[in-house]
Subunit: 371 residues, 2 copies
DNA sequence: AACAACTCTGCAAACGTTTGGCCTGGACGC
DNA sequence: GCGTCCAGGCCAAACGTTTGCAGAGTTGTT
């Protein structure tokens, strides 16, 4: 049997309550007893039983993480951030991976609820009502999503898109494609909106290519769609998709950035490891994890003061080798109204695989995005 | 306040102990009371307080994971396996990332110890004595490592190496390099030994290139060393390094597999996403995670029967595009004793960056590996 | 010198479960 | 009809802490 607080008390010749105080509220006992108790506890190798402590205090000193897929490299990075900050604050983390099943996530949160003080929820697709009911259950911080009064850490999606678009614009691109993510995802929605605004403002054409699972394989499809849509640049929902795009373009013999420029989102570690290295909207994911913990801990430990509920982190376009000058020369297309000059590279794609027609939507100035 | 077992008892008109039994040992109460209690509990939304339960039973229904770096893509995959199997068995997982600091890991295990029933330890570099003392602390399963009586899940490293080497041999390679991992790592030691044996047996020359952190950046260095060593094939400690090798070779204009073949270890998701797709010794990491949990759970729930302590999982060489025919023609070199014909590609590397001379060891038939 | 104020420590209750032992009532065998 | 046995349920103790309250001792004030 492990040594208990009573063993320490007996050995030190004091009462259990004194031991408890000496260890957790040192300022409540005299210097001499504190010293004595601490030495004795040390000597006996006493470790407080967390179950007993949390039974009486109701505090677990644990925080939970719920996320859709640890296989997506953004999440390990967020988790690392959460982990390290949590440890700094004396918390352990419980991890729960929903395997991309948003409908199962409430159950995961409920399971966690009884053994954590709060959870960091990365759930781009959980319904808002579920989210609210989860927030009613226990302290919650969501990542990359905002729902009225629930604390959140988000990235400045619009600014990231803005940077990406103006980068492409500066390189002469006038017709770009958007390889969209999951339909109901928060970032998807934000980015799409920002994209419509940014392209409209710069007089660029935007080709919206479907909704896809945020995976490598989706990128393969996106690449073909982009080629058939004759865009000269493509922005992908995330890096996995962008890598898929690069892969497929390479396989089809399309030069990047020579013929098509590619931009991703997230800046996962691999983005810089491929050829050509991927230009991407970098999200400081580890920092986001830490920020989420900071928010959660301040919520838990000083519930009276309400700090800013939402924390917005900046995005930074990481320019690497997958973006370059547009071959087609500058100038917005809609000025002439004619289909723009297709290079050999792009002509080559005519008749390429077409997925479903409804996966392609064109947005132009004439069809402005809703505010 | 949450509803307690007593609330349920009162509402159902039975005692608390009956409620407890009806819920956790249903066969101990009559059908009618069980029905009644379960309905009442359901109706009141009763959720047992795990702290109270674990205080009395000593069981937490949690398992811990300690690993060196969630940023290395093998680990998320192992964690997913652990997670899903743990959930199937009614356990939650606590995650602890040591940030590649083996000396900090015992402390992490100790912290976890008080709130888990056992831990899965992925610690390639913790000292054996630390490992033993951890095993004395609580039930433990180690992954990819064997220490006498500690349960473990390992891969058949030797067989993986064997497959990789004979693959290269079949393609005509006679002089291959080994981009080694961390010096004290278990797999490093096993693989190196297997490599020496396999090459010796096939009459191939082995160029052992240093000890490196298992990272992409290490691969960059390895590539240069390999070129200067005039090998035609390289096996890397893991895929991250192998990707680094590919990257650097590409940057230096060396064709893969035209001039050099590259093999990695792990089969991380990205291995198949790069150009050329990486041939690699695939480890079924998710399966390893599940196996570790199976081992741990059987240890926890039936401590009397001792199942096989070590579980060995097979490796499978995943042949992709990064390996190909050797340009230098077949035939072992030691038959002639002459340095083999260097192609233009390899000559190009003469005088290339040399790191430290002691980072290069040559092993030939004349210098057989210790058993 | 008496009293007040304060510091330090001990006592005991409480947290919400599980579980061994005991009690009750009914079924069954003789 | 009486004794035995057993299923089903209740009581109470226990798990290891924390914490409100009260008491003891010490110091300071009038």
């Amino acid at each position: 049997m492990a040594t208990t607080i009573r063993d320490v008390a007996r050995a030190a010749g004091v009462s259990a309550s004194t031991v408890s105080r000496a260890l957790s509220n040192p300022e409540m006992v005299s210097d001499s007893t504190r010293e004595l108790v601490q030495r004795t506890a040390q000597r006996l190798g006493y470790r407080p039983n967390p179950a007993a402590r949390r039974l009486i205090t109701g505090r677990t000193q644990n925080i939970g993480i719920v996320l859709p897929d640890l296989g997506n490299p953004v999440f390990p990075s967020i988790v690392k951030g959460i982990q390290s900050r949590a440890r700094e604050n004396g918390y352990c983390v419980l991890l729960s991976d929903s395997d991309e099943d948003p409908s199962g996530e409430p159950a995961l949160v409920r399971t966690l609820a009884s053994q954590v003080d709060g959870v960091v929820l990365c759930s781009p697709r959980m319904s808002t009502e579920d989210l609210r009911s989860m927030a009613g259950l226990l302290p919650l911080v969501v990542v990359q999503r905002t729902v009225d009064h629930i604390p959140a850490v988000v990235f400045d999606n619009a600014d990231g898109i803005q940077q990406a678009v103006s980068h492409l614009h500066a390189l002469g691109h006038r017709r770009i494609a958007w390889g969209g993510g999951p339909e109901r995802s928060y970032s998807q929605e934000r980015r799409t909106r920002a994209l419509r605004e940014a392209t409209a403002q710069l007089g660029m054409e935007l080709l919206e290519v479907g909704h896809f699972a945020p995976r490598f394989s989706s990128g393969l499809m996106v690449a073909d769609l982009v080629l058939s849509g004759e865009a000269t640049g493509v922005i992908a929902y995330n890096d996995l998709m962008a890598l898929g795009v690069l892969h497929r373009l390479h396989a089809r013999g399309v030069a990047v950035p020579g013929e098509i420029s590619v931009i991703g989102h997230d800046d996962i570690p691999f983005a810089g490891m491929v050829h050509p290295a991927l230009t991407t909207v970098a999200l400081s994911t580890e920092r986001a994890g830490r920020a989420a913990v900071d928010l959660l801990v301040s919520l838990l430990e000083s519930p009276d003061q309400t700090p800013g509920l939402h924390r917005t982190l900046p995005c930074e376009l990481q320019i690497r080798a997958s973006t370059g000058l547009c071959r087609c020369g500058p100038g917005p297309l809609h000025e002439t109204g004619a289909p723009h000059e297709t290079t050999g590279a792009i002509r080559r794609t005519t008749g390429a695989i077409r997925r479903t027609t409804e996966a392609i939507h064109r947005t132009t100035d004439a069809d402005p995005a809703p505010a």
